[in-house]
Amino acid sequence: MTDSVKRAAETPEEPMPFAELGMKQDEYDRVKEILGRRPTGSELAIYSVMWSEHCSYKSSKVHLKQFASKAPKSEALLVGMGENAGVVDIGDGWAATFKIESHNHPSYVEPHQGAATGVGGIVRDIMSMGARPIAVMDALRFGAADAVDTRRVLPGVVEGISSYGNCLGLPNIGGEVAFDPCYLGNPLVNALCVGLLRKDQIKLATAPGPGNKVVLFGASTGPDGIGGASVLASATFEDESHAKRPAVQVGDPFMEKLLIECCLELYAADVVVGIQDLGAAGVSCATTELAAKGTGGMRVDLNLVPLRDPSLRPEEILMSESQERMMAVVRPDDIPAFMAICQKWDVPATVIGEVTDTGRLVMTWDGEVIVDIPPGTAADEGPVYERPYHEPSGQAALNADTPDRLERPADLRATLLQLLGSPNLASKEWVTSQYDRYVRSNTVLAQPADAGMLRISEAIEGAEPTTRGIALSTDGNGRYARLDPYAGAQLALAEAYRNVAVTGAKPLAVTNCLNFGSPEDPEVMWQFAEAVRGLADACRTLGVPVTGGNVSFYNQTGSTAIHPTPVVGVLGVIEDVARRVPTGFTAEGLKVVLLGETHEEFGGSEWAHVVHRHLGGLPPQADLEAEQALGTVLVEAARRGLLEGSHDLSDGGLAVALAESCLARGIGASVALSGEAFTDLFSESAARALVTVRPEAHEEFASLCARHEVPCYGLGTTGGTSLVVEGVFEVPVEELRETHSAALPALFN
């Protein structure tokens, strides 16, 4: 029997399964207070998904506010947080929109579909801003590389990203693959998408204009991921997680590709007033959010929703997370043109309701009213928690256990090869060769370059030419954040910022994916609060605003949380994409120059991790002023054409940066160190980069560095077939290559 509003009013005492839907007693009481009666089953479905952690950010909201309150003044920011994705002015009338989002829990339960639908979801976020998606990236973290379950999860995740992203026709231009035992039961799959649009063509999720039609288009609705948002993403894994398999959605990249082309044609025809993608919480989320941001009311006939499974109940239709669906608000006069474009692309489209000025979201089923709520109460006025937090009890001891006690290596050659062949630093070609990095022919730089880079001029057919390009990098280091979440978040931002700057692009804006354990654990909540505070402070110092992002809580197995892992994406702009700086050594006879100061900093380092399985002390210092000065020098030097190649220094320090630079094109180098060899080679001090310059350009480059007070040390010259560190070691580039490229195939073939 349909649980109608009328029936709910008549049966006020009927017990409702709010607890099974993840809702707390006081939250349920508030729903009753808002409605002045008990909710119907359909209304409960809407409130339970909209007020879930995943959709409402109820535990994180009070902290995330800092991204706005501390935001640096930026003329580039066109659309900030709170929309589907932020939009940034990149010059010449162009705008870029980008966002990173997690799909961690589904990717553990069903790696292939979990990762695939993660890509699909973020791409629809970008589409719904009015943009053409132009590239994707993925930041992936798995358990120990040799763990049995990693061999299930990693190949599945990579295949899911590969099959979905490749079929969609979006180049995959970078990202990360990292391993740590803490991610064994909670792999992190963070997907980023970037899109382009003309500045004056931004679309928003809003439903204004009473009488305008509400159109659901794309795939039909099935029983996918019902309750996924609240049950799957907000509950900690226990042993029975396999019982949740049906809760993971299944993706259809072909439909998504049609949706992209269809949406772009709809935008070009100017027949869309407002648009929203259907992600977590499906129809519930799209209708409440559109209505709340528009005139305030909407009427929907749920019987009109095209179903893949005709037995679905209204509650299930409201909660279904079937993929590849969008909802648009369309003027009645434009409906024929809208439908014709959908038909051209074989995309099913159905008018399911219309915008009203009643201030109520009203839904009917078989002629009875089953939902009658003020939409803003579900979309915007969810619960807000000030979760208690305190420093973890073992934090002081962890910080006191510094790497000073670790035995320094006698054989630095062996240490380099050991690091270079370790899973975190080894070549990721086994993964990235499964991704199409060339489609659309705008890829200027892609993995293993420090940042992905795309030209803009030809990304959208018929657009006015520009010489500009955009660069993107994502970075994060869970070990650093475990030792100091405040500094760890800043170091993640600093590295992404640096990775963008070394290609010659000026960092402009930030997106983030905050992966943490349970917010109900005060020690995890402390990590979260510190990380957000650190990131917000660093964004202000570096002058790059946060444009949006995503929080993923409950990444823990039992009571053991993952390392706090803020992953930060930075978008930058290069004025003339032909001036991009490639990664590594590009020719013989160039001067090799180290920028930045090296201190003895081994806390959380790859060396401590790989050689001693040690995690303790403090991470490297995050010197943001130095980071900014370094970025300024790199961007200006690229603009003047002074740099032949570059590479950032991060995990594994100078030694690994030198080795990777040699591997880029098989060109060796001979360098000399000035300080203590082990620290010079393996310390992970931030705000450093390696560049190569033509000998005749060195003087101009050195004076540029001096002007910005960036320390600049000539180390040697490129050339030959070996990496020679004078008086320390010599390794043939071929040996570096074998060590670097053998590790992942040996583990996963």
Partner: protein, 226 residues
């Protein structure tokens, strides 16, 4: 004379059509968009069938596309001598349409592979390779999950004996029989390739090579001389 007109076909799920059109323009020809649902070749002088996942390739790659309305026009035109180049999914469609023999199956590694691949031009007597030198070694990107060329022993023997193998891999990436990366029909007007010449036409973007341009300048030369 007016510029040569090269049609670039878009099926639902085609991905490399913009890339192919750009390569056609860079070579100096006019790119004419052709839509799968039209019975209309728009009087083009040659046709490029680009890569992608037409109709999602949920059945067998290219198996549905061969029945598209446009293909009903293209198949007889190709048999009558219209130059046609199919790359990747386009090659798969040409095989499904029986304009070329054999089939493309799942890579031996069972993984999709995207890499810059060294190949050798084995046959310059085609509409699409006449600007290359016989035996010339070039670099083109490959990106496919189902690029392993297979055919019966008789077909393979006939391809080899007739000089119908156009491009061969140097370092076989997918288990293709006889290292075959591309073949032509008897007349030499229809060529299928797994590699993507359209992604190797500019210094700034794509593969670190501009070797792909030769396929596009070849068809121009062929059309100008025709």
């Amino acid at each position: 004379m007016s510029a040569a007109r090269v049609g670039v076909v878009t099926f639902p799920g085609t991905l490399d059509d913009q890339d192919a059109a750009r390569a056609v323009r860079l070579a100096g020809a006019e790119a004419v968009p052709l839509w799968h649902a039209d019975h209309d070749l728009k009087g083009v002088d040659a046709v490029f069938l680009p890569g992608g996942f037409s109709y999602g390739d949920y059945l067998r790659c290219g198996a549905i596309s061969r029945f598209a309305p446009l293909m009903e026009e293209l198949i007889p035109a190709a048999r009558a001598g219209l130059p046609v180049l199919g790359t990747c999914n386009g090659f798969q469609i040409l095989c499904e349409a029986h304009l070329l023999p054999g089939a493309l199956t799942r890579n031996a590694s069972l993984h999709y592979v995207c890499r810059d691949q060294r190949v050798r031009i084995e046959q310059t007597a085609t509409s699409w390779t006449n600007m290359f030198g016989q035996g010339q070694e070039i670099v083109l990107p490959i990106k496919h999950g189902e690029g392993r060329y297979v055919a019966s022993d008789e077909t393979l023997a006939a391809l080899e004996a007739g000089g119908h193998v156009v491009v061969r891999y140097l370092g076989n990436p997918n288990g293709s029989l006889n290292d075959i990366a591309g073949i032509r029909n008897e007349a030499g007007n229809v060529v299928g390739l797994m590699p993507h010449p359209e992604h190797a036409v500019e210094e700034l973007v794509g593969a670190p090579s501009t070797d792909g341009l030769g396929f596009f300048t070849s068809i121009l030369k062929k059309l100008v001389n025709a």
